[in-house]
């Protein structure tokens, strides 16, 4: 009864300011602290995933060369520093798994979503603070299990991040831990998505209509809906695969399997392709789950630093809705060469070609936003511009594989690896960097060093292209993905110099991230004090102190206009906060 009484007294999401260290920094209910926790979590996993990538690329550049100290670090996978094929398979599997599920999703959704969304809509917190805390603390054991899996007999999962059955059903124990880790993480993401949807629908400040919401909030709203609809399918498939592995069921095991000359016990009645259908029914929306928040961040940053309203705000929102809807009917394009009925391939090709359109609309609208602007080249702006220019490459290269006959050749080659990295690094990660530099002053109250930010941007942008653009050429030559040594093949032998060049570029790319890490931590103490609104932006998070107080606002703001009213002709000031009353200073000076 008492909880009912409390619920009547307080608005949802409202809770007392914590006083103890544990409740303030560890088991916090505050969305801002949880957002920061997700950010540290994601940055840590980003480093882990990046180190795995360096090992993968070392092997591709110098297939027979030992790395002596790795012989001590991973004696089973790299005896004497020489990489074994099964360890190589674990490395790329875990690189992708960690980057996708433990780095990109947590930083975009967990960190920026949590920190930014409630303040942007003028709420005091998320709708369900306890659920929010539970989401984060569910994600932690997920990461522990996935890292632990490196140390079990047989090593970590080695079936690719897609874990195609039946290979994934007969792999060593690491695959079981992979499934458990992702099931745990999936639960965490589901809790988060429910929280976002509820918060955005119910807790918007007075005047904050849907079409006055900043595009970051729009993007996270749609992302949360995608998560809610797609993740249960993956979880279901993973539970089935787990049962196949530990309980002797045969969801994905057809009759007559013979592995290494031994008939597989109990096999029969299952379908190998069922896994792929279930996995990609989740997996394709997942691609948009990772890119939509970055699109939202870009749509946020471009108008602020162009001092101009976003071009085609509604087209931006509608195209995200379009992507979300179409995202559920394109999964078969991952399966053109799988043995799925080729006629079905044609239908999936058509839906895939159509889904290119909303992404094109967004790109043109970003260009439209820059057109006629007054562009400031700050670090977040450079990152967002990189997002646009790199996403164009990732989007256009997707058209090659959407065309079924062309896909025959490039499917499962490095062309695909190049494509996915242009979308997920060139897209999602540059979007995350833009968000990081943009909201850092809001999160920590101080500015990051802009000069070092630009050095970080320049090195990352250049070396990113040097590492990943050549992948398209490797794929066009027919180099398959996921092979331990391509030099086994006569027709791929001469690709070694190009691979070495890519690996050397990756070393620089990796080293450049040290600049970000140092800048990130040093700026917390030494950075210039930011003040509430260092970018002179309009959205609500900039109309409150940096960092915002407990419960975000001293008084809940009222929203009078859209989020991107920059350079309005009737005002001398080039920004016009969403919460400034219309009777406010019309000809006030800019500062």
């Amino acid at each position: 009864m008492s909880t009912v009484a409390v619920a009547h007294e307080h608005a949802p999401g409202v809770h007392a300011a914590p006083t103890s260290f544990w409740r303030k920094y560890i088991f916090s209910l505050d969305h801002k602290v949880i957002g920061k926790q997700y950010m540290f979590y994601a940055l840590f996993m980003l480093i882990v995933g990046g180190l795995l990538a360096i090992l993968v690329r070392w092997q591709l550049a110098w297939p027979t060369k030992a790395i002596p100290f790795m012989g001590k670090l991973a004696p089973e996978g790299m005896p004497g520093g020489h990489m074994l094929p099964e360890f190589y398979n674990s490395l790329f599997t875990m690189h992708a798994t960690i980057m996708i599920f433990f780095a990109i999703m947590p930083i975009l959704i967990g960190a920026f979503g949590n920190f930014v969304v409630p303040i942007q809509i003028g709420a005091r917190d998320m709708a369900f603070p306890v659920l929010n805390m539970a989401s984060f603390w569910t994600a932690v054991p997920g990461a522990v299990v996935i890292i632990w899996s490196f140390f079990v007999t047989g090593g970590a999962a080695a079936g690719g991040w897609t874990s195609y059955a039946p290979l994934s059903a007969i792999q060593p124990k690491g695959q079981t831990l992979w499934l458990i880790a992702l099931l745990i993480l999936g639960l965490s993401s589901l809790l988060t998505s429910v929280n976002f949807i509820t918060t955005i629908i119910n807790m918007r400040a007075p005047g904050m209509t849907f079409f006055r919401m900043p595009l970051t909030t729009w993007a996270l709203f749609i992302t949360a809906i995608l998560l809610l609809l797609a993740l249960p399918v993956l979880s279901g498939a993973m539970i089935m695969l787990l049962f196949d592995r530990v309980l002797g069921t045969t969801f994905f095991l057809p009759a007559g399997l013979v592995v290494s000359g031994q008939p597989l016990k109990n096999a029969g009645g299952g379908q190998a392709l069922l896994w792929q259908h279930l996995f990609w029914f989740f997996g394709h929306p997942e691609v948009y789950i990772m890119i939509l928040p970055a699109m939202g961040i870009t749509s946020e940053v471009l108008p602020v630093f162009s001092r101009k309203p976003v071009f085609g705000y509604r087209a931006m929102a509608y195209s995200m809705i379009g992507i979300a809807g179409l995202g559920f009917i394109v999964w078969g394009h991952h399966m053109f060469q799988s043995g799925m009925n080729p006629l079905l391939g044609t239908t999936f090709m058509i839906s895939t070609m159509v889904i290119a359109v909303p992404s094109a609309i967004k790109t043109f609208n970003w260009l439209g936003t820059l057109w006629g602007g007054s562009i400031r080249f700050t670090t977040p702006m450079l990152m967002a511009l990189s997002f646009v220019s790199m996403f164009v490459i990732g989007g256009l290269s997707g058209i090659f594989m959407a065309s079924t006959p062309v896909d025959i050749f490039i499917h499962d080659t490095y062309f695909i690896v190049g494509h996915i990295h242009y979308v997920l690094f060139g897209g999602s990660l540059f979007g995350a960097f833009a968000g990081l530099y943009f909201w850092y002053p809001k999160m920590f109250g101080r500015m990051m060093n802009d000069t070092w930010g630009k050095v970080h941007w320049a090195l990352t942008f250049i070396t990113f292209n040097l590492v990943f653009f050549p992948m398209h050429f490797l794929g066009m030559r027919g180099m398959q993905r996921r092979i331990y040594t391509y030099t086994e093949y006569e027709h791929l032998k001469d690709l070694q110099p190009m691979n070495q060049f890519m690996t050397l570029s990756l070393f620089v790319l990796g080293a450049a991230q040290v600049i970000l890490v140092v800048n990130f931590f040093l700026s917390m103490r030494r950075g210039k004090v930011a003040g509430p609104n260092p970018w002179r932006a309009n959205t609500l998070e900039w109309q409150t102190p940096s960092p915002p107080p407990h419960e975000n606002f001293t008084e809940i703001p009222t929203v009078y206009r859209g989020p991107y009213e920059y350079s309005a002709p009737e005002r001398a000031d080039d920004h016009w906060p969403q919460s400034e009353p219309p009777s406010g200073p019309v000809r006030a000076s800019a500062h």
Binding site: I170, G373, L396, S403, H411, Y484, Y566
Partner: protein
């Protein structure tokens, strides 16, 4: 600056026309130079009767995406330079333009649908319509080798004159082969780069594909689907035809 409402419409028209014209001009140039793409922008030599169709589609998409890429990135760079912040100049206040939204929705949609329709026919001819008078063979993948079975002189499988080879694909030059793909254990993918053939071999399923080789040469069969620790060395060679497989023999 009283032209806010109309400005974008008017301003949009001229670049649009110029843009369309330059696209058309580039396409014309593309058509003329289609056969002369530099080596590094081409797929490896194609030796099957349909490889040219796949390569043609690849080339067409390369041209279209290449042109779009150049236009978009050039516009981006131009805008960054032209509209960089300068003291005393205020940004144009506009929320967009519905007309231009419709244009840049319809044009990409048309291009994509046309590409899909063009691809559809080639795809159907390669993966759906099996040719008559083809030589039937059976290809079975297992960790980590390809077993290829030929029906022998009687044209039937499961008879004593069947011929089995390991990792060696013998094919009659110029005559189509219809292969039934199977797998004993996990998913493999039968990849013959120069033939433009790729098809997964899935346990529990039989998948039929066809291909032909117009000549012999030194090529390799690869496995394109991760199949375990020996995936990287699951390879074979397409070899010259052996006596029972000479062209024209049934």
């Amino acid at each position: 600056m009283q032209t806010h409402a109309l400005g974008p419409v008017r301003a949009a028209r001229r670049p649009l026309r110029t843009g369309l014209f330059s696209i058309a001009a580039l396409f014309a140039a593309a058509a003329v130079r289609a056969a002369e793409l530099p080596r590094w922008l081409q797929l490896p030599e194609g030796v099957s009767s349909y490889s040219a169709r796949i390569d043609g589609m690849f080339r067409l998409i390369l041209w279209i995406t290449g042109i779009v890429f150049v236009i978009v990135e050039a516009m981006l760079l131009y805008f960054l330079f032209r509209y960089r912040h300068r003291e005393g100049r205020k940004a144009t206040y506009t929320h967009g333009n519905n007309r231009i939204e419709v244009i840049w929705t319809i044009i990409p949609a048309l291009i994509c649908v046309v590409l899909a329709l063009l691809s559809r026919r080639t795809w159907a001819d390669i993966k759906q319509n099996m040719p008559a008078n083809a030589l039937p063979i059976e290809i079975t993948g297992e960790q980590f080798s390809w077993t290829i079975q030929y029906p022998g002189a009687d044209g039937k499988f499961g008879t004593p004159d069947d011929i089995v080879s390991l990792n060696q694909l013998h094919f009659p030059v110029g005559r189509p082969v219809v292969a039934t793909l199977r797998s004993k254990d996990v998913i493999h993918s039968f990849f013959l780069p120069e033939f433009r053939v790729k098809q997964d071999a899935v346990p529990g399923m039989s998948t039929r594909i066809w291909f032909d080789g117009m000549r012999t040469g030194h090529w390799e069969i690869a496995c394109a689907e991760l199949c375990g620790l020996g995936h990287y060395r699951m390879k074979g060679v397409p070899a010259k035809p052996t006596p029972p497989l000479k062209p024209g023999r049934n």
